[in-house]
Amino acid sequence: MAGSHNRVLPGLGLTLGFSILYLSLLVLIPLSGLFVKAASLSAEEFVAAIASPRALAAYRLSFGASLVAAGVNAVFGLVVAWVLTRYRFPGKGLIDALVDLPFALPTAVAGITLTMLLAKNGWVGQWLEPLGIQAAYTPLGVTIALTFIGLPFVVRTVQPVLEDLEAEAEEAAASLGAGRAQTFRRVLFPALWPALVTGAALAFARALGEYGSVVFISGNMPLQTEIVPLLIVTKLEQYDYAGATAIAAVMLVSSFVILLGINALQGLGRRRFAGAGSAP
C-alpha cells in the first residue's frame, strides 16, 4: 500500500537495477545452468540417472523420512506453539528463544552430536540398544536428524496465528455451550490449519534438501540409508556430472512445486485471517 505514489523518492532505477543484476548473476543464471546441462543429456541418459534402483531408493528414503519428520513436527510443534502462547511458566522466554536453535546451529555440528547421542554407546543409544532399537546409521536416525532440522518451522508459523486469534470467537463458542474440546475442533483448528500445514510443508521442503545433519548419522549405505543430496555428492565425487545434474533437476523441480504450494496456502491463510479480522 505504501509508495504507489512515489514520484518524490529517489533511487528506484539504481536499487532496482542493482537488485535485478545481482539476482541474475548470482541466482538465476547459475540455476538455469543446471537446467541447460540437464537438457543437454539424451533422454536415455536422463532416465537412466533418475530412475536407477539406487536413485529410487534414495527418493523413497528422502521423501519418506522427510514426511515422517514433518508429521512429528506438526504434532509437537502445535503443542509447543500452544504452550508458548497460552500458558505462563518459569523459563518460558528462554525456551521460546531456544526453539530457533536448529536454524542457528550449523548442520555439521547437529550431525555429529546426534550421531554421538544415538550411537550404541551414546547417551541415548545405550538405552535404545537393549530394546533392540538401533537409531544411528538407520532410517530412524535420518528421520530424527530431519525432525531436529525442521523443528522451528511449525512452531514459528503457528505461533503468530495463535497470538492474533481473537478471543471473541472462542468466547462466543463457549457461551453458546461448546465444550473446550469442541471449541478447539470447531473454532480454533479451522483458523490454525493453514498455518499448521504451511509450517509442516516448510519443514518437509527443508528436510528434502538437508545434507549436513544427515550425512553423519545415516551411515550412507547405498539402497538403504542414502538420501538424495548424498547421492548427488557421491555422483559428483565420481565425476558423474550428468547423473548428479539429472537427479538435482528432479529435486529442484520438487522443491519448486512445494514452494508454490506453500505460497498458495499462505494466500489462503491470509484470506481466512483477513476475513475473520474485518468482521466487526
Binding site: P10, I20, V27, P30, I95, T107, R180, Y241, L259
Partner: protein, 291 residues
C-alpha cells in the same frame, strides 16, 4: 494486559463458559510436559552434549584443539568468507527492499518470489550449480583454466556458494519492515531538500537499523555455519579451503572426537550468541515499531 483483566472482571463469564475457555489443569500440565519433554530431548540434550564432549578431554586438550594451526586457518577462512558474503548481501538486501517497499513496478511479486529462491534449493545443489559453471568441465571451465583462475576447489568458490545460500536473509527481513514503516519521513526529507544519500543516511538507515542488524545476524550465522554447499565446492584442502564446519567433519571422520567437538563447540557458541542477539533485536524492533 491491565485493560484485559478489567474487562474480564466486569463481565466475568459464567462458570460453565469459563470452563470452556480455559484448559483443565490436567490438560495444561500434560501439554506443558509434552512440549518441554520434546524440546529438552531435541534441543537441550544435543546442546549439552556438544559442550560435554568438547571438554571431555580436559581444558588443555580443548585449547590445543581450537588453537591447532589447521583449526586457526579454518577459523580465519570462515571469517573471510562471512566478511565478504555478509556485506555484499546486506547491500543487496537494502537495495531490493528500497525498490520493493517504496515503489510500484510491474513484476514486483515475481521479484519477491525469486529473492526467496535460494532457500528452496538444497545446499548440495547450490554447490553443484557453481561446479557446472566454473568447474574444470563447466561452461566457463576452459576459459578459467586458460587464464589460470581457480574458483572451484578454491576460496572464490566457497565465497560464491556461501553468498548464494545466504542471499535472501536481509532482503526478506527489510521488505516487510519498510512496508510497515511507510515513506512519510523519507518524503519529508526529500521535500526539505535532502539529497538521496543524505536521506538514506539520516532517515532510512536509523529507521531500519535493528531490522538490518537482525537480518545480518541470521545471515552471518548461516554464512559461518554452512556445510553442504561449501563442502561440494571446497575440495577439502587442509589449511587452505577448510572452513570451520568442514574442519569439524575432517576431525570427526578421523576419529578425533574430542577435537571435533571442541571446534564444534565454537560454532555452538556462535549459535547461542546468534539466538541471544536475535531475541534482543526482536524485542527492540517491536519496541521501536510500536506507534
Amino acid at each position: 494486559m491491565t485493560t484485559a483483566t478489567v474487562t474480564t472482571l466486569e463481565h466475568a463469564p459464567a462458570p460453565s463458559v469459563r470452563a470452556a475457555l480455559v484448559d483443565p489443569p490436567l490438560v495444561r500440565g500434560g501439554l506443558i510436559a509434552i512440549a518441554l519433554g520434546f524440546l529438552a530431548s531435541f534441543l537441550l540434550l544435543p546442546l549439552a552434549a556438544v559442550f560435554y564432549e568438547a571438554l571431555a578431554g580436559g581444558l588443555g586438550l580443548y585449547w590445543a584443539s581450537i588453537t591447532d594451526p589447521m583449526a586457526r586457518s579454518a577459523i580465519w577462512l570462515t571469517l573471510v568468507v562471512a566478511g565478504i558474503s555478509v556485506p555484499v548481501n546486506a547491500v543487496f538486501g537494502i537495495a531490493a527492499a528500497w525498490a520493493i517497499a517504496r515503489f510500484e513496478f510491474p513484476g514486483k511479486s515475481v521479484l519477491v518470489t525469486l529473492i526467496d529462491l535460494p532457500f528452496a534449493v538444497s545446499p548440495v545443489i547450490s554447490g553443484l550449480i557453481f561446479i557446472l559453471l566454473f568447474g574444470a568441465q563447466g561452461f566457463f571451465g576452459p576459459w578459467l583454466a586458460e587464464h589460470g583462475i581457480r574458483i572451484i576447489f578454491a576460496i572464490p568458490g566457497i565465497v560464491i556458494a556461501t553468498t548464494f545460500i545466504t542471499f535472501p536473509f536481509v532482503a526478506r527481513e527489510l521488505i516487510p519492515l519498510m512496508q510497515e514503516q511507510g515513506a512519510e519521513e523519507e518524503e519529508a526529507a526529500i521535500s526539505l531538500g535532502a539529497s538521496g544519500w543524505q536521506m538514506f543516511r539520516r532517515v532510512t538507515l536509523p529507521k531500519i537499523r535493528f531490522g538490518l542488524l537482525y537480518g545480518v545476524v541470521l545471515l552471518n550465522a548461516r554464512a559461518m555455519g554452512e556445510f553442504g554447499a561449501v563442502s561440494v565446492v571446497s575440495g577439502h584442502i587442509r589449511g587452505q579451503t577448510n572452513t570451520l564446519p568442514l574442519h569439524v567433519e575432517i576431525l570427526y571422520n578421523e576419529y578425533q572426537g574430542t577435537a571435533a567437538f571442541a571446534v564444534a563447540s565454537l560454532l555452538a557458541l556462535l549459535a547461542l550468541a546468534t539466538l541471544a542477539a536475535k531475541h534482543l533485536l526482536e524485542w527492540q524492533i517491536r519496541r521501536t515499531n510500536r506507534p
